[in-house]
């Protein structure tokens, strides 16, 4: 048994299924994802943990799209410089997107990978969904 499995263990874990967390449009066209806990993850993840992740993502996207003095200033400055300023610096939105990428990587490493899950950055899905890939559970002794 051990020999037949060892080669497979060296390969990448197979994808068992994917769950997609859709956009939540209840507050308009801003980027928000539904915090409802999908049933497919019930066996793998804490509801609280999941909601916290999604909520943080939502907050980060809200920060990116926030209308305020800072974003107005950036917009006006960009307009005045004929948008050439973006050759030198990146927009606030892009900065937050990088922050989000770091956050997701961090979450994956700390929480999701040990549970055989993988979060995909929504930007790679066109900000349409948060894709959670569920890998099949190969751990010996998993009573699932």
């Amino acid at each position: 048994m051990a020999e037949t499995h060892s080669l497979q263990d060296l390969q990448q874990p197979a994808v068992s299924s994917k769950v997609f967390i859709q956009r939540d449009y209840s507050s308009g066209t801003i980027c928000r994802f539904q915090t409802k806990f999908p049933s497919e993850l019930e066996s793998r993840l804490d509801k609280q943990q999941f909601e916290e992740t999604i909520q943080t993502l939502n907050n980060l996207y809200a920060e990116a799209e926030k209308l305020g003095g800072k974003s107005y200033l950036e917009g006006c400055l960009a307009c005045l410089t004929a948008y050439t300023i973006f050759l030198c610096m990146e927009t606030h939105y892009e900065k937050v997107l990088k922050k989000i990428a770091r956050y997701i990587k961090d979450q994956n490493e700390k929480i999701y990978a040990p549970r055989g899950l993988l979060l995909t950055d929504p930007i790679e899905r066109g900000l349409r969904v948060v894709e959670v890939t569920i890998f099949e559970d190969r751990s010996i002794g998993s009573g699932r």
């Binding site: 449009y25 930007i123 066109g126």
Partner: protein, 398 residues
């Protein structure tokens, strides 16, 4: 049994209590189901999200499909024939500044052309008509400018109104938020006051493009993990799918042959979409213009089987553009109905596509947001990527 559990899962996924997915009977070959819609409540207003058969996504609110650009556009304003592109979420402020500066320019030219003629008339003393004869170009200029001023300044004024009320041209024309529709009808996207609306539209944060226009598509290659004991279901459906694909491919190629025979040589262009959709049936690479718009990161997606086994074989259908962009300065577009973009499956209402997109923002002042759709179906998850790849061009925020 499997089918039911799948459908249940998908329904559960869309478990938002305010989401209503209208059921559509899934007939056999030759039957096109009526358009599907999804309702969401946005800031108190119920909005219907339509499903785009071309782009294979449920359009986000305020998005619309442009048949001229052949994709869905976020916050669709209108398709401008003068610039040859759609005006949407990411380029609206530039468009507005363009028409604003253009109106200043036309007023400027108009004023100075008139001044020139007047000065000539005054200096000549031989009469106004002689002055006009001296400089016939000015006359022409004045005439052209006169009409331009009215149209451009009118357009600028119109867009200023739209910005202040946070509406799109599309919404204004349709009267989506007009009080004439109902007492309780209001614009859920408006920020409340004019100043905030203006600032948001003109100086708000600019999201980057989600499309890598210079990337190349990787040819589809099945990258499924070999079926192990844990995924026998997966393995079983594979053969089923490939069988389905052959059938679909046969139907598609037959259709294409018939179509190619029927259409004259000049219209070859229009039959392209048929080719586009034929190849994904068996996971072939996508030719045509879509290939230019897929990004590098795409390559990481396994592009596998297209259709889930539960769907019916493909049919062609027309994507009727659901809006008529009547340009502010009086140009009407007629949209030719798009050539049948053959879809290789129909969705049962339960298989509501959950759209995974595969995009990457790469282009500098790029204008497009693209999104795709797919199916949540554990047995054919790669069809999601398949469809997502195909739909990659389909939603832009321009």
């Amino acid at each position: 049994m499997e089918k039911f559990s799948l459908k249940y899962k998908v329904l559960h996924l869309f478990g938002n209590s305010t989401t209503i997915i209208r059921n559509v009977a899934n007939g056999g070959t030759g039957y096109r189901p009526p358009p599907r819609t999804k309702e969401v409540v946005i800031n108190g207003q119920t909005v219907k999200l339509k499903y785009c058969f071309t782009c294979k996504i449920f359009r986000p609110p305020r998005a619309s499909h442009c048949s001229l650009c052949d994709n869905c556009v976020e916050r669709f304003d209108h398709h401008c024939p003068w610039v040859g592109n759609c005006v949407g979420r990411r380029n609206y402020r530039f468009f507005y500044m363009f028409i604003l500066s253009l109106s200043f320019l036309t007023i400027f030219i108009f004023a100075f052309a008139i001044t020139h003629i007047i000065l000539l008339a005054v200096s000549h003393r031989s009469g106004f008509l002689n002055a006009l004869k001296d400089s016939p170009a000015s006359v022409l200029e004045v005439v052209v400018c006169f009409f331009s001023v009215w149209s451009i300044v009118g357009l600028s004024g119109f867009h200023t109104y739209l910005i202040s009320s946070n509406q799109t041209t599309n919404e204004d024309i349709k009267g989506s938020w007009s009080s004439k529709r109902g007492k309780d009808n209001y614009n859920p996207y408006s920020h409340g006051n004019i100043f905030t609306n203006c600032c948001a539209a003109l100086c708000g944060p600019l999201p980057p493009s989600l499309i890598d226009r210079r990337g190349f598509i990787q040819s589809d290659a099945p990258q499924l993990a070999p079926p192990t004991n844990g995924i026998t279901m997966y393995g079983a459906t594979q053969s089923q799918q490939s069988h389905m694909c052959d059938q679909d491919q046969c139907i598609q190629s037959t259709k294409f042959v018939l179509q190619a025979a029927a259409t004259p040589l000049l219209q070859q262009q229009s039959s392209e979409p048929v080719i586009l959709t034929a190849s994904p049936e068996n996971g072939g690479s996508l030719p045509g213009r879509t290939s230019l718009t897929l990004g590098g990161p795409c390559t990481s997606l396994p592009l596998g089987q297209p259709t889930p086994p539960t769907s019916t074989p493909s049919l062609s259908c027309h994507e009727a553009a659901d809006m008529l962009p009547i340009h502010g300065h009086g140009h009407n577009h007629s949209h030719p109905l798009q050539e049948p973009v053959a879809h290789h499956h129909f969705l049962t209402p339960e298989e509501v596509p959950s759209p995974p997109g595969m995009l990457h923002c790469g282009s500098p002042l790029g204008h497009s947001h693209t999104m795709q759709a797919g199916f949540y179906n554990p047995a054919s998850q790669d069809s999601l990527h398949e469809d997502s790849v195909r739909g990659l061009v389909k939603l832009s925020s321009v």
